[in-house]
Amino acid sequence: MHCVRKVTEDLYWVGANDYRTELFENIHPIPEGVSYNSYLLLDEKTVLFDCVDWGVCRTFLENLEYVLKDRPLDYLLINHMEPDHAASIAEVLLRHPETTVISNEKAFLFMRQFGFDVEGRMDTVKEGDTRCFGKHTVTFLLAEMVHWPEAMVTFDTTNGVLFSADAFGSFGNLGGRLFDDEVDFDRDWIDNARRYFTNIVGKYGPFVQKLLAKAKTAPIKMFCPLHGPVWRTNLGYYIDKHDKWSRYIPEENGVMIVYASMYGNTESAAQALASRLCDKGITNVRVYDVSKTHASYLVAEAFKYSHIILASVTYNLNIYPVMEDFLHHLKVLNLSKRVFGIIENGSWAIKSGTLMEKYIDENLKDCRIINSRVTINSSGNRSNEIEMDELADAIVKSVEEEAKLLEAGEKAVAEAQAAAEQKAALKKMSAKERMALRMKQRQK
């Protein structure tokens, strides 16, 4: 039974939803599933944009054949070679010996590495090349390290559709609703989207920034990503989120408290801090048990909030292993520019606080650590009450300062971005146009 949707004139979604896979990339839990989006363009030539994971290949093939009817598949265009999209290439090529594969040199290299026979049917493109399929002409932009080196995005200059590969994707199954205006994204999807971006692409902020700058020069009307909804209405909202995530700027000035507790004493301290913060008026606070929350969720929250308070017991004279694992995730995903606070506990030699500070100092870029530290010996006592008040006061002060700094910083960034765009626009103009613009500005 087919399951397809029309995206826009000539273009169809022929992908599939996956509710069965427990762990995406065999790491990240996806309790709400994921979609693998594949798109079919019916022009004078037929073009399939990317494929799907092997696990949903049968549904995908049914969809493809349904939309294709009896037409040949002229082209298979591959933007990204990761097997959650590319695994079905071999099957499509077997069923369609007439198909030519369009992709870039590095992607073809990967196809050979993964064992797909594409010899004699390759059309290799580079950045800025174009291909015309009849009504529709597409051009290619490399999206290196977003989040693989061969990744590219394809822009349909005829209708403004950007086939954005893994950029602008999300975890979560579609359940029929394909477009951003068919769902309440900010309520139902944003957490999945953040968790997808930060865990999959988070490390590559500078490359995402490069791609966003490139994308700004194209009149994009629609994002067709390889996972999650198609964007045709509120693109600015989603670009802004990606801009913040890839610059490592928190979305919210708030406090995430992550605790590692063996017998509940460190947990009590974490909860005590949270209550104090709320009492003092900082209510944008979230508390997480590092042992019970998968690191992918914690990473996403760490990207969301400005302040991260780590409360950890000492374990074999080290940081509690699960907490250390969380810190390792933050490091390899390049989380930067956060304010940290420390609560430590231990029963004979208390080491976790100093070790967590050392880890942040050496590995997490452009962060600061609040000086006030709570040091607990087994369970909280009267001295800890005072330390806790001091830490809470310091966090309140820091949250207030950060609010001002963030606002000023974002204003400066917006000005810098506008200036860069203007410069790029000027570069594109002819000398005559530039002159006319200057005259106009002078008259003002």
């Binding site: 290196e144 080196p149 500078p206 490359f207 050496e362 997490l364 000086n371 960034v413």
Partner: protein, 254 residues
């Protein structure tokens, strides 16, 4: 031979920055006189009074006693000193556990309360790491101990080597005598100095470059401080061979 003591200007003193001055003026009395002179020079005013049974964790000053006291019956001597110094009473964990000189909430250390005030007299306290954890935020630590090798002397600001049972009565008497007032120009050490809100950290995106072929990050800190721009044009990514010119800055706006 005495160690020359200069009047330290008021400053924030971390636990790793103790002055470690051992006062050696010849006699116990001379040492005590010198100590009091130095403390007054630092701005301490000994005409102030305090409730000696006030909470240790909130106190400005504490007179703390260790196993050097030998017997609980020697405590009145300590109480006299606390009264004269405007301090609360405190003790070490062994003095609490073994001879119960004071109730539980008065022992200072990792497992006890933390003293974070300005002046701490460690009397007959050897200075085990667990005890030092409880005074790491104290501004000035004075140690009196008969063992010159006691670790407390490596973790104090001013020390007198000698028997506390002889020195403490001398110190009490000196504090009770007609003392000069602290220099009004010296900033008084009555208020706990404020710590800066943050510790800055080393790791930064500045100076780092990332590779579009594999994500490798060039960090000058790990490459003998060689700035990326100073690398030869022939430099290529060590992981995947992408040329130098294609690397991009790791710095993001904001």
């Amino acid at each position: 031979m005495g160690v020359t003591i200069t009047n330290e200007p008021f400053r924030i003193r971390g636990k790793d920055e103790r002055l470690k001055v051992i006062i050696q003026e010849g006699s116990n009395e001379a040492n005590v006189n010198k100590l009091v002179e130095v403390l007054i020079g630092d701005g301490f005013d000994f005409s102030l009074e305090a409730d000696m049974m006030g909470p240790v964790e909130e106190a400005e000053r504490a007179v703390s006693v260790g196993m050097g006291i030998i017997l609980k019956s020697n405590m009145p001597m300590i109480e006299e000193l606390a009264k004269s110094a405007g301090a609360v009473l405190a003790c070490s964990r062994p003095a609490y556990e073994r001879i119960q000189v004071l109730p539980r909430e008065r022992f200072v250390g990792m497992s006890g309360v933390k003293f974070t005030g300005t002046l701490y007299f460690a009397c007959g306290i050897s200075g085990a790491p667990q005890h030092l954890r409880g005074i790491s935020k104290a501004h000035t630590v004075v140690a009196i101990n008969k063992n010159p090798d006691a670790p407390i002397f490596k973790n104090c600001d001013y020390g007198i080597v000698g028997d506390m049972n002889e020195i403490i009565p001398l110190l009490t008497a000196k504090l009770n005598s007609d003392l000069p007032k602290p220099d009004p120009n010296a900033k008084p050490v009555q208020v706990k100095p404020e710590e800066p809100l943050y510790k800055e950290t080393k790791a930064t995106a500045r100076g780092r470059y990332v590779c579009p072929g594999c994500g490798y990050e060039y960090d000058p800190d790990k490459e003998n401080q060689t700035a990326f721009k100073d690398l030869p044009d022939s430099w290529a990514c060590p992981e995947c061979g992408v040329p130098k010119k294609d690397m991009i800055s790791a710095v993001t706006l904001g």
